[in-house]
Amino acid sequence: MSFSSSVLAIEVGDFDLNVSLSQTYLHTSQNEFLIQKSDEGTLEWTEGVVNTIKRFDRLQIGAQLLVRDFGDEGNYRVDLDWGYVDYALRDEIGIRLGRMRLPYGLGNEFRDVDAGRMEILMPQVFNPEDFRAAAAGYQGVGLYGTLSSRKLGSLEYHLFYGNNTIHDDFFMVRDARSLLNSPGTSMTTRGMGGGQLSWNTPFEGLKFAYTHLRYEGYFDVEFTHPILGVVRDDRGLQLNIKWNVLSLEYVNEPWSVSFEYSHRDNDSVYGNTLGAVFGTRDYDDSATVSYYATLRRQLNDRLGMYLSHGEVYGNIADDGTTLADQLKETSLGLRFDLKNNVILKSQLSQMRGYRGVISGTGSNWLMFTSRMTWVF
């Protein structure tokens, strides 16, 4: 093994391996948030990835393995994070088959690339970390390309369709099992599709993006009813969710600013059996709105800082009535590049609300996170 002349990789034979390892410390002042016992301080958040990419003329292949321990999720299971075959006919059109990153707003594709951004956590009102397992990627087909013009800038598109694998340790499955006392409950993605358009405008550093995402999935539900006994309903809860996301980013080094707005339409229903038990097919016919703004400043070659504020409102009824503000988050953080390949980050957040809270009743609380990342 030797260090390659490449910017980032470790060279092993004919392969350039890119490696990133990170360890995060999470401490909340009151509630357990994202990870059990976060109110006592926890180190149960470790991630490691290794990837390699090969290019042969118009053909590119690549794969990344992910090992992750995130509280009760992952437990160091080795997952294929992405792995694809890509054929690019020209810059304007290319096709990818396999498992790819899901384009959703500015940050979702890069959510695990700690070395690539200033923040530790992306805004939890917008890219909640407990959704990572369902939101990080898709298996299927993607069409992508870049249309460039000297006068109009460049327009990048990515259209996709596929599904994803939801493991039983995903928080929604764990919650459903706990709520219904039913170890037989599981979640399946039937399909997800959509697209993203990103416009790098001719005005230097200014970028706009629009994302549309549609998700269809279901829970196979099994639970014990006090009168009916064990009730099993395959596809007992059917999820049909649409997202529309608007994004803006302006980079004028050493400053950068991002703003994103998301509108989520929920149209989820119970299956026939559960519908009969509960007396209604309606489970969730509401909307969720979230937005955030982040301002970043690179203070010198090694040190950067950021300030972010975001809010998410849920259960918005058809008449527009807001029934619940789920979370408001204001964060201040630092990134320090100790060496070229060692990064230290710390973030302090004031949180108001309960989105992502596992247990606890504090409505106004603090979250401190700190992370060390090694990258090669």
Binding site: S4, S5, S6, V7, L8, A9, D16, N18, S20, V49, N51, I53, K54, R55, D57, R58, Q60, G62, A63, Q64, W82, Y84, A88, R90, D91, M100, R101, E109, F110, D112, V113, A115, G116, R117, T146, S148, R150, S154, E156, N200, E204, E253, Q298, D301, D337, N340, V375
Partner: protein, 137 residues
Amino acid sequence: MNLGLLKWLMPFWLMLAMAQAEELQLITSAQSDFSEINEVTLRNLYLGREKFVGSQPVQIVDFNNAQGIFLERYVRKKKKAYRRLWHMMVFTGKSLAPKEFRSKEELYAFIAKTKNVIGYTIYPVDHEGLKILKLSQ
């Protein structure tokens, strides 16, 4: 020649010599299918947004000794920001990071033997397997 005049001209000669030594030039293999590239495409290649020149897939490389000047002039990014950008490209599988060379000899040898590779240099292009890439607006 008057020594006083020589003394007076010396700084200008030095500046001229430094300017010549640091003249940034785009280079490619003599076998490459193209001899010209426009500035928008060049920038997009180094930002990972494009991978082709015309209809030809290309590979880009970095040269450590000239990277700062090149990034500032054509990519309009500082080294740190450029490195972060390529971290994002590599760890999402979007693109392969450019190889980075530390010696002129290795850089020239690699580009000369590899068709459709684009690089840059601040040294004289004295390798017969290379050609200077013309930049169009």
